[in-house]
């Protein structure tokens, strides 16, 4: 579409560059944030933004929760049982806060969506729902919604530790085109340990489908970090040419998020095959 006004583009890029540089500076001296000092980005919101976030009646993410409730009570699979036949709705409180958790059969941690598919296979004899499909996200959102506001507390499980180590190492390394590793980025975006936003739409005034933490991780890992370099590029381009046609590329979303997500999941060890 139309290009951003040039002066605005310059300013945006300059601001972004400054932000990126300050991140590098803080990242160089920074170490991991102690667990007690981690904050949800909810705590950084202005009162107005919080009011929007708190209002379920205007949150399009709640559609997924409603859909999930419908699917939860729907009989499915060869055995024709619903999720609710085994679990009662209330019993799922706190469950989502304990995932990813180790699965004995898979010999690795599984996240909530995988866990739901495992249940479909074992208890319902139903076909697994495709990853990130509307139905699977809705079911996960319905379950996660019941743990809202609870602290994410992974079980103390020896079998999890190699995966946690790999995840920690992954996040410390600057990769791809990125100029700073994940913890430095999260220091500014303020990703914390609360579940409140995990399955909620963060940029919730738009109309994208519901988001989930894995995709956000992939997006941060892939798009967010590379954006800064793209910004530098477009900034230089703009300085070279007074007739820049478009400077929107630097904030573009990756087109093939799925494969990047799979690569990411493979890198942190949540998937056995890439």
């Amino acid at each position: 579409m139309s290009a951003m006004p040039e002066h605005l583009g310059h300013r945006t890029c300059a601001a972004f560059l400054l932000a990126a540089l300050s991140v590098v500076a803080s990242g160089a001296s920074g170490s991991e944030i102690p667990a007690a000092e981690k904050r949800s980005d909810y705590e950084f919101m202005s009162p107005d933004t919080r009011a929007i976030q708190d209002d379920d009646g205007t949150n399009p993410g709640m559609f997924s929760v409603l859909d999930g409730e419908g699917l939860w009570n729907k009989k499915d699979g060869v055995l024709s049982v619903s999720c609710d036949d085994c679990h009662s709705g209330a019993s799922m409180r706190g469950i989502a806060a304990r995932y990813p958790a180790y699965d004995v059969d898979y010999k690795r941690p599984v996240d909530l969506q995988e866990r739901i598919n495992i249940c479909r296979k074992r208890r319902q004899n139903a076909t697994p729902l495709p990853p990130e499909s509307r139905e699977l996200l809705a079911l996960a959102a319905f379950v996660a919604h019941q743990s809202r506001g609870m602290l994410i507390e992974l079980a103390i499980d020896e079998r999890l530790s190699p995966f946690l180590m790999r995840g920690a190492n992954f996040s410390k390394v600057a990769r791809g085109n990125s100029i700073y590793p994940v913890p430095s980025a999260t220091m500014t975006t303020g990703v914390g340990a609360w579940l409140a936003t995990s399955f909620r739409k963060r940029n919730r005034l738009d109309t994208q489908p519901i988001d989930w933490s894995g995709r956000r991780l992939a997006r941060c890992s892939v798009a967010y970090a590379t954006a800064s370099l793209e910004c530098v590029r477009s900034h230089i381009l703009m300085m070279q040419s007074s007739t820049s046609s478009s400077n929107s590329t630097w904030r573009g979303e990756p087109t093939d998020l799925g494969s990047k997500l799979r690569r990411f999941a493979h890198d942190v060890g949540w998937m056995s095959t890439g």
């Binding site: 209002d55 379920d56 009646g57 205007t58 949150n59 399009p60 559609f63 409603l66 859909d67």
Partner: protein, 106 residues
Amino acid sequence: MARALINVPRKARRGEIIEIKTLLSHPMETGYRRDNMGNLISRDIISRFVCVYNGTEVFQADLFPAVAANPFLSFFTVATESGTFEFRWTDDHGNTQTAQANIEVA
């Protein structure tokens, strides 16, 4: 399957001005976009919204292709008596979705 979020105060004083918020899940396809193959995606929008309070129409709206997906409408009315709000969304093809909410007026 419930696809509308309605926010009506459960209780209100007689004569109180109350805010009603409605959010409907709908793609609001404009008819101007093209798919990956370059074919026009046919228009599919909610074109009309009506709110009826105990049989009396208190709010109506015409919607157009410029309205974003998941149309959100917020409006005010006066709580006159206990009863029911009925909400009706009608799309281009004449299909309607409805929702209800009760209010207690003291």
